[in-house]
Assembly symmetry: C2
Homo-oligomer: 347 residues x 2
């Protein structure tokens, strides 16, 4: 990236290019001469076992990035979209954002003594999941909304970042941001190394993800598409703020995914990655593009190292999308068979 202003005297313009060239030549001569074969041996997806899924990914990237190939895709059209929950990080036993909401309700409880008597808050504070379930979808939405609104966008980003810094997954006893899939981190990096722009397109809250996606996935805020509440512009003490208010703005799930992609990216992806029926329409939208396309579903088949679930699961149901993947030849990753490693090492 050119960080140098081009209005400053370019006295070093030619000289610096010359210097860089000479330096490169010197370094090439001085370095222990990596053999030409080393490049060929470098595996961009070391946590993927050899097999049809890995091969299909590698083939797709070669085909779409080789100039002159009939499947060549111009750099500006290399858009890849990734679901988050269950595709990039663990979504069982319950979505991380729901865990966040419960902790937030507990943190807010001292200011709301009435919650001790009132559902659905009473159940959340008692850790009574069955009680919460009894309040139905309306109860859960009420809890989620209460936990996510009433503060400015800056305040919310700090609340999320603070929580992520300490909260741990109940089974894996590591931070949620460490419950990400190593094979998918490699895939993100590999696509970016081949000039793909990588986006998250998640049913999760966009402002719940943006504070940490750059650090964890290498994906900047402007490449995160998600669900959102409405915000209100206000002047507070002479300073403008955006206040998060209790009204749904957009649900980025199922049919919402292609709609969100169109709203925010304005280009059709050439590669899309998901793990559930919530991703089906995004994969259909991607498959319907004119050029080459790659559609991939992560199938959770590994109860020992992670979780095993599909058609009957409440979270991350993979049923209709699995049928469509099988019928249309989309890639289905068998986590147990295809992934050598699940999680990155804890730093």
């Amino acid at each position: 990236m050119r960080t140098r202003s081009n209005i400053r005297p370019a006295r070093s313009g030619h000289h610096s290019r010359l210097a860089l060239c000479l330096l490169t030549l010197v370094l090439m001569a001085a370095s222990p001469l990596p053999s030409l074969a080393q490049g060929a041996k470098t595996d961009p997806l070391p946590s993927w076992n050899e097999g049809s899924a890995k091969k299909a990914i590698l083939d797709f990237v070669v085909r779409t990035t080789t100039e002159g190939s009939p499947n060549f895709v111009k750099v500006e059209d290399r858009i890849a979209t990734f679901d988050n929950d269950g595709t990039l990080w663990v979504e069982e036993p319950v979505y991380t954002q729901v865990m966040f909401a419960f902790d937030r309700i507990k943190a807010m409880a001292p200011q709301h003594p009435e919650w001790k008597e009132n559902e659905p808050f009473k159940s959340v504070l008692a850790g009574d999941m069955k009680g919460l379930e009894a309040s139905g979808e309306k109860g859960l939405i009420g809890v989620m909304m209460t936990a996510h609104v009433g503060m400015t966008t800056d305040e919310f980003a700090k609340i999320v970042a603070d929580w992520m810094a300490t909260a741990q997954h109940p089974r894996f006893k590591r931070k949620y941001t460490e419950c990400v899939y190593q094979p998918m981190l490699e895939l993100l990096a590999f696509l970016r190394a081949n000039a793909f722009e990588t986006y998250i397109v998640s049913g999760g809250g966009v402002e719940f993800m943006r504070p940490w996606t750059q650090r964890v996935y290498g994906i900047p805020p402007q490449q995160v598409v998600g669900s959102s509440v409405k915000t209100k512009f206000e002047i507070r003490n002479g300073q403008p703020v955006l206040l998060r208010i209790p009204e749904i703005n957009f649900i980025d799930d199922k049919e919402g995914k292609p709609i969100g992609i169109n709203n925010i990216i304005g280009k059709r992806p050439v590669a899309a990655f998901g793990n559930s029926d919530g991703d089906q329409q995004m994969l259909e939208w991607t498959a319907a593009g004119k050029g080459p396309s790659l559609m991939l579903l992560v199938h959770h088949t590994d109860a020992e190292r992670e979780y095993a679930y599909d058609r009957q699961s409440k979270i991350g149901t993979l049923d209709k999308a699995l049928d469509e993947a099988n019928a249309k030849g989309w890639i289905v990753v068998d986590m147990k068979r295809d992934w050598k490693t699940i999680f990155p090492p804890v730093r």
Copy 2:
């Protein structure tokens, strides 16, 4: 950009770097050796007259891109947002998108014989602006909506592109995409050369802009924020489409601009460019950032070469924002005084 797949044998890795270096050296020797001073003389904003506006822009870019400067801005935070109508292209005598809508109504009229008798369509077909005004805001919104919905997103993009290819500005007798401001094109390119990401943040329709912003401004679809209608995901003949439906999704104007920026970019701009009260909140939001920031308003003062309007204008009213700019020392570009050229040469 690395367009080369890193999974193919890297047999040419070292060799190609060597070849590139040698080629560079050869070219440098063969070229007519531009003097070192040439860089210093190269003006990145040749269509801007010397003066406080130009100086403030140049100073800002030097300060924010010089490592070690107290005002240095990291590359990932270099977000610059531009209004479109009246800031990047002409908005008088009427917004281009309204002209588009009128032409579209005329094109649709043969399929709607009833429009000959019914307002507001009757007035549009008769070219009777006063008649249309008599139908009030509701009438105009009805015309705009009718012209913009009922087709798929792909169909709409083609309708816009086809119209842009031939429609002409009534006064300047050149295509609307040629009624863009040469000084602003230079500013966009200059910012990008200094690693700023340039975004459009416009009250205009996002899907009305995306088909041509890359070609005209060098701004890709994913960096265009605008107003939008809702879309509906449907399967038609086995293929998914997004149908544009007659319901407002978002109005990206006034308070909507910081909201749209937060929704879609998720980062606060460090530089914002506008020309009207519709841009006031975007500039306030930008000014409230923690680091350095640049706020600029284009003041239309040149009735001879373009238009002169501000506080009393129906389109592009510049009143409260001008007062705030004067009070806070935001840059106000005096078009007549500050711009050497208004439009680029017609190709």
